[in-house]
């Protein structure tokens, strides 16, 4: 369960989203404007922000929040879909979802943000593994033994966990984990993925946790 601060002036949409997120297990504080957010900000895990609001607009509110609480994830939820608006929003916000959206998508995106910022001590089950997202421990469910990873393997696995269900290209993985520009033909990443698979997969020859998406990259699905 996460505490969500949701700012939306459209009552119908506000009610609907609050109800849906609450039903999905989150605790939602819904406000119709930026007034009085100070009271909630220190205690929430994620902020969902509309752009067109009475008084201070969503961009200004978001910037202020991010300035004081850089570790608080912000998702912009707006009917403004122009590239300029998205760019302005993503300048400070972590995600930008346009209306009309599907509640499943909103929920999924909120989950991604919570994972990325490790706001929940989530115990995740990925097939035969139990992963503690906050401290990164990996337990083999059947043997109850902790799987020890080397530094790079750990970072690589963490990167997958932060981007669960997303397909990551070789370039994204290499640059995300090694912090260097990926050079075409570099085998380092593949070697590390092989080692990681040897440690976490039941059958490394036919991996099921780290999927290979042919021609694109890799993915870890929940």
């Amino acid at each position: 369960m996460a505490r969500v601060l949701y700012i939306e002036d459209e009552r119908e949409i506000g009610q609907w989203v609050s109800k849906d997120l609450t039903e999905r297990g989150h605790q939602v504080h819904w406000l119709t404007s930026g007034e009085g957010i100070e009271k909630y900000i220190p205690t929430v895990d994620v902020v969902i922000l509309d752009v067109m609001l009475p008084g201070l607009d969503g961009f200004s509110i978001g910037r202020r929040i991010k300035k004081d609480y850089p570790d608080l994830p912000i998702l912009m939820l707006s009917a403004r879909t122009s590239v300029e608006d998205k760019i302005e929003g993503l300048d400070f916000a972590d995600d930008y979802l346009t209306k009309p959206f599907h509640p499943d998508e909103l929920f999924a995106r909120v989950e991604v943000l919570l994972r990325r910022y490790q706001k929940q001590d989530e115990e995740m089950e990925i097939q035969h593994l139990i992963v503690h997202t906050k401290d990164g421990r990996i337990i083999h469910k059947e043997t109850q033994e902790e799987i020890q990873l080397t530094g790079k393997q750990y970072h690589l696995f963490q990167f997958f966990i932060k981007h669960l269900n997303q397909i990551l290209t070789k370039e994204q993985l290499y640059e995300g984990v090694w912090g260097d520009k990926y050079m075409d033909g570099d085998k380092t990443l593949m070697v590390h993925i092989r080692y990681l698979r040897e440690k976490i997969e039941k059958n490394p020859a036919s991996p099921t946790i780290i999927e290979t998406i042919r021609g694109i990259g890799y993915r870890v699905k929940l």
């Binding site: 459209e10 067109m52 009917a79 879909t81 300029e84 269900n165 290209t169 021609g215």
Partner: protein
Amino acid sequence: MKRFMKSLLAKYMLIIIVAIIVVQLAYLLVGSVAIFGFNMQEDEDIDANEVEIKWHEDANRIQQVNEVNIHNLFKKWKEIYPEAGMFWVDGDGRLVIESNTMAELPVQWTSVYTASFLKERYNGDPFTVVAFLDNKDVNGFIVFEIPRTAFGPPILQASQKYGGLIIAGVFIFVLLFIVVSFLFFRSIQKRLLEFQESMGIRDVDGLPIKVVIKKEDEIGELEKSYNTMVDELSESRLREIREEQLRRELIANLSHDLRTPLTKVRAQTYSIMQEKLSDEGRQAVKAIEVSISAIDRLIENLMSYTLLMASKYKYDPTEIDITRFLRESAATWYPVFEKESFEIDVSLESLGVWKVDPIWMGRILDNLLQNVLRHAKKGKYLGIKTVSNEQYDAILIIDHGPGLSQESNEKGAGIGLTIVDMMVKGMELDWEVQSSEDGTIIKIIRFK
């Protein structure tokens, strides 16, 4: 008047006028010398006559004819006419004294020679005066000879004396005129080139910058006009930016106002879906859901189309690794196609760097992939490939759908492809569509 005096025209007029005045003065000088010389020429006879009379007088005046007196006489005349020649032939026809004579003279003069000498010298050059000494032929005669040019007009004399100097003077004057004109035009040329160079400099916003006006002449006026033009251009750019902002704002607001009720419709249908519904009801709600997505896409495409038509869609080309870009786009679309059980075949070779706007490129791919999802669902196949040959590099989007000519359940595909067309051409790329009943291949081509 003050302005005229500062002009280039006035300056060049001044150079010409000075040149004309100098030439006129020179003419005047030469002319006056010529006129004076003409008068002198009229006096030439008198002058020669005077010489003749005086020579005769001096010859008569000698009381005692001897070498000393004659020598003294010659000396006196030599002082007055340094270029003159003189000699004395005595009563016996003997050449006694000879001073600065112009021809070879015999020592002994015969009557025949004397006669031929007189005949030759009569009205000839040099001007010759023969006078008997003391008016008696027994003492012989003294001869005074002087080149006729000595009596010539001063102009002639001057030209003979200072001819070289005059030519040099004229040459120097012409040279001076050429140099002054050259410097004058070179300074104009230099300023024009500097002006041209300044016109080529661009500010950070891509607009030309103002030039510094140094002089208030014609070029200065031109620079002033250019600066005014730069100001007007900046103003017009500013106006254009403001207009662009207004238009964007209007479209953004319009899009917002359309999408908000659409979101409400979705909220309501979602709520209905949570209720217990008959199969028919469920089907109807699903149809509404599909329509909401279709309207959403249509609004998006309409907005983009309006901006593109007005050339107001932001275009910012950057160099991107196109293969990496394709792979990342494929990664975002993969789950959507996966959910629809498509076979996804991504096979990308390196196409190097393309100079394109990544947002435009993303939009093109989104529209094409959306079309595959909407119209080629039956084929259950999506291929994203690259081709590279000597003529071109290309991106291929392949589906096994019923082809573009087939009627699709979803309308509104036209505008999506129109946007693809406008964006592809806007980025100086090309595209072609091969469509049949077995599927469609869309090629985005960059010619080498």
